[in-house]
Each structure stands twice: as structure tokens, then as C-alpha cells.
């Protein structure tokens, strides 16, 4: 019996699964009207499903928190995917919209919501059209989802996918994080709002069909189930892979084929950390296993850095990106990330002061927890990790300036929107 693929079942080469093929592959969603909400939440709790948006928060706990509030609830499916090197949410929305909508209906039933808003990136016409068509197919087929679907396009930006930023945008404001009540307390139109990543919703769509025990048949005891990762960098076949939690990183890299000597692997994307090549041997891809290496899977972004790239040039470019993507609302973030970017650029050019290393270390450890969102926390985690793992490269650049690899093609993507802002 093959346990995978689950989410990516029936969608070879990016085919779009229309309603008919969706039902052929996964069968119908059980009639949710016959599932008491408490029973659904219990099933989800037993499955051990955690959020796939990066924070890995237990889903049942979130459902309970929203469900316990008094006013009419709202579900938001977060498919904005602001992280540049991530493509899993886009892929799910484009090829498996019905599985995401199924999951949104399950979540709505669990918390008692009458509406589910699917949010996606405004630049993505294919996703917009596909979602609209999927909603229309369900309406025409008279599927009793028990929930009204709405679609919401959000302008691109790294922080736009933050829960409170997304809710703020839906409420007509800017896609910037807010301080104060959290979405589960007061969100869309001040109603208790459940925000879940669209991959999380997709898992809910399958758990509702096959149950908690089935979900736990793959993965590990502490981190059950499958998960989507986006692999890029020095690999032959970059893209979105569905893996079981606990899969060996080296197996994934072998499968994708390395195109270069490996220097290091970025785990967890731009809020993640670097693992030097000599340490990846027994690393398993699950939140629990990675935490033992001081790392985190985050939203599943994995980038292989090959020997032909310059880690200092890459880090400097991402530091610039962070500074530009700050929402600009909180002093420590704006100033701190600006200083880091400035100094990092000087290090790369060889014009930095001798205090650069200690300055960077000081800033990297003094911003966490001092913004309205986790952006400065994640950014400084990434920078601190790079400074540690690539310490010798940083010293070389500070002393001698650019190396021959500095002008190599960029490995870590930084979207064009940033260039347009200048």
C-alpha cells in the first residue's frame, strides 16, 4: 500500500483537478451535517494535525479557541504564500482547489462558521480563475458545503500573509500586522476568525474522509502525516514535493538530484536556518527532529546552496529584502533590519568596520519579540544562522571584499516587486 501522495494525488504535471476528477481520486466528502462539530474537532485532535503555515500550531486547539467564542465565526484559508521560495500553497490552489474548499467546509463546520474566505496572492490569475471555477462547479453540483465561499486577492508582500495582516486587509485596511485582539477573538468584521493555511485545510479535507488513524499511518508519532515542501537551489528537479514527516533530508536531495557540491542547506525558508553540508547526514524532516538541530521546518522551504554560490552575497541580498519588506510600523524592526542590511552590504564589499561582526551579532539578538509580528524574529534567526555557519566566508569578505562567486546567479529569490519599490 502506498501512503503517498495524498494531497498531490491525481495531479501529475500540474493538471487541474476539476470536481469530477477530484471526486474520482478522493471520493465525496462525508455529509458534514451528520458530523457534530465536537466530534469533528475530536477527530482532528486525535490526528495530531498541526498548521502548515509555518508556526506548526495544533489545529484542534485553534478550532476549540474559535469555537468557544460567542459571535458568528468566519474561516479564512490563507493561500497568500508571501515567502518567495515557497510554492506549495500556489500549487494546491491551482491544481487541487476542491480539496482546499473541502477542508474549509470541514473547518467551518467544526467552528460553526457560515462563511469561508480563501485568500490568495493578487498576482496569480490562474489561481483566481481556478478557485472561482471550483466554487461555481460546487454550486452547480449542489454540493451541501454548509458554508458560503468567498475569494479574496491580497497584494504581494512577505508580511501580508501574517494572520492579523490578512484579516486587516480583508477588513479593508492595509495588509500589515496589527496589535491588539488576535483573529480568533476579533477578526473579519470583528468576528471570531479561524485562519488556517490552505495546506492545513487540504489535510482536513482528507482527515474528514479517512479519519485520524489513517492520517497517522504516515509520518512519525510526534509529527504524524505528510507535508509539502518546496525544494530549490542546486537541484536538478526543483519544485513541490509531498513527503512523510521524518523523511531523510538526504533522500529528498538524492531524489531531486544535486547539481553542484553542496555547501549548506537552508531549512525553513527565510525565517529558517542553515545546516552545513557535513551535518545533514542523519537529519530528518519533521518539526521535532529538526528542533533537535536548532532548526525548524517552517512552511517547508528547503534550498540547497551549492559551491558555485556565495553565501555572503546571498545573505546580503536577503538582508536587503528583509529591510524592504518590513511593514515599517515598529521602530526596532525598521531600524534594526535596516542596520543589518547596511552593514551586511559593507561586509560583502569589504568596506565594513572591524566592529561589523559584533554589531551584527548584537542586532541579531536584540530585535526578537519587539515588533508587532514575528518578522524581525524570523529575519534575525536567518541572519544569525548565516553568520554562524558561514563565519569564515564573512571574515574573508570583510577583509578582502567580493569573491569570484559573488556575481554568480542568485539562488535565493527576491521578487521583482522589491525592485519596483525603488
Amino acid at each position: 500500500m502506498t501512503l503517498l501522495p495524498r494531497l498531490l494525488s491525481g495531479v501529475a504535471d500540474g493538471d487541474v483537478a476539476d470536481l469530477r476528477s477530484h471526486l474520482e481520486v478522493d471520493g465525496p466528502l462525508p455529509d458534514l451535517r451528520r458530523r457534530p462539530p465536537a466530534q469533528l474537532i475530536d477527530e482532528i485532535e486525535r490526528s495530531g494535525l498541526r498548521g502548515r503555515g509555518g508556526a506548526s500550531f495544533p489545529v484542534a486547539k485553534k478550532l476549540q479557541a474559535v469555537s468557544a467564542r460567542r459571535r458568528a465565526k468566519v474561516v479564512v484559508g490563507n493561500g497568500t504564500e508571501g515567502e518567495p521560495a515557497s510554492g506549495k500553497d500556489r500549487l494546491l490552489l491551482a491544481t487541487r482547489p476542491h480539496l482546499v474548499l473541502d477542508g474549509a467546509a470541514v473547518a467551518a463546520r467544526a467552528v460553526g462558521a457560515g462563511e469561508a474566505i480563501i485568500a490568495f496572492s493578487a498576482g496569480d490569475d490562474a489561481v483566481a480563475a481556478g478557485l472561482a471555477e471550483a466554487v461555481e462547479e460546487r454550486r452547480a453540483a449542489r454540493l451541501s458545503d454548509g458554508v458560503r465561499f468567498e475569494l479574496f486577492a491580497v497584494d504581494d508582500g512577505f508580511v501580508a500573509g501574517n494572520e492579523s495582516a490578512l484579516v486587516n486587509a480583508i477588513n479593508g485596511g492595509e495588509a500589515k500586522p496589527t496589535f491588539g485582539p488576535r483573529p480568533f477573538q476579533s477578526g473579519v468584521r470583528r468576528r471570531p476568525t479561524l485562519v488556517q493555511n490552505v495546506e492545513t485545510l487540504a489535510h482536513l479535507g482528507l482527515i474528514a474522509r479517512h479519519g485520524a488513524e489513517w492520517f497517522r499511518e504516515t509520518g512519525t508519532n510526534l509529527d504524524p502525516g505528510s507535508t509539502l515542501v518546496t525544494l530549490s537551489g542546486a537541484v536538478t528537479i526543483p519544485g513541490v514535493y509531498e513527503i512523510e514527516h521524518g523523511a531523510l533530508l538526504t533522500d529528498l536531495l538524492d531524489h531531486a538530484g544535486l547539481t553542484d557540491d553542496l555547501t549548506a542547506v537552508l531549512i525553513g525558508g527565510y525565517f529558517g536556518s542553515w545546516l552545513p553540508a557535513n551535518l545533514i547526514g542523519r537529519v530528518r524532516l519533521s518539526p521535532r527532529a529538526l528542533s533537535e538541530h536548532g532548526a525548524s521546518l517552517g512552511a517547508g522551504v528547503i534550498v540547497a546552496l551549492g559551491g558555485s554560490a556565495c553565501p555572503v552575497a546571498e545573505t546580503s541580498r536577503i538582508a536587503d529584502y528583509f529591510a524592504a519588506e518590513s511593514a515599517g510600523q515598529c521602530g526596532p524592526c525598521v531600524n534594526g533590519l535596516g542596520a543589518i542590511a547596511e552593514t551586511m552590504a559593507q561586509v560583502a564589499r569589504g568596506t565594513a568596520a572591524t566592529t561589523a561582526k559584533s554589531d551584527l551579532a548584537r542586532w541579531s539578538s536584540s530585535l526578537a519579540g519587539r515588533g508587532a509580528c514575528q518578522f524581525p524574529d524570523g529575519a534575525t534567526r536567518f541572519v544569525a544562522s548565516a553568520l554562524r555557519v558561514f563565519a569564515r566566508d564573512f571574515d574573508d569578505h570583510r577583509r578582502h571584499g567580493p569573491c569570484e562567486r559573488c556575481s554568480a546567479q542568485a539562488v535565493l529569490p527576491t521578487p521583482m516587486a522589491m525592485a519596483m519599490a525603488y
Binding site: T178, F179, G180, G331, P332, N335, R370, A372
Partner: protein
Amino acid sequence: MLKVRVNPIQCVAHGLCAELLPERITLDEWGYPILDGSALPAELVKNARRAANACPTLALILEPDR
């Protein structure tokens, strides 16, 4: 028990809080507060309230220490 907390969006680095409650608040190199968010002993509560009232943007908050 109470503790101090800052709304980092409201805060624009006036710095009055650090003057009035130096036991719990220092300023970073850009003038923004670094808070010690541990529970306030009884003798600091009055000054903490004064600091919160003095903040021109009402960014400093006193809240229960859960």
C-alpha cells in the same frame, strides 16, 4: 500582579517611559524601549502607572502578568 508591555506600532520613541521606570525599561540605540516584562513588585506599580499615563502615544500598557 501587573507587568508593563508596549504596543510597538504606537510607540514612536519619545522615551519618557525609560525616564520614569528605569528599573524595567531601557532604550536601544535608536531610542526604542527594551522592556523587562516580569511581574512588577508593589513598590514599582505607581511609577509604572505614571509612565503609562505619560506616554504621548499611549503605547505603554499595564496588564495582568499571566
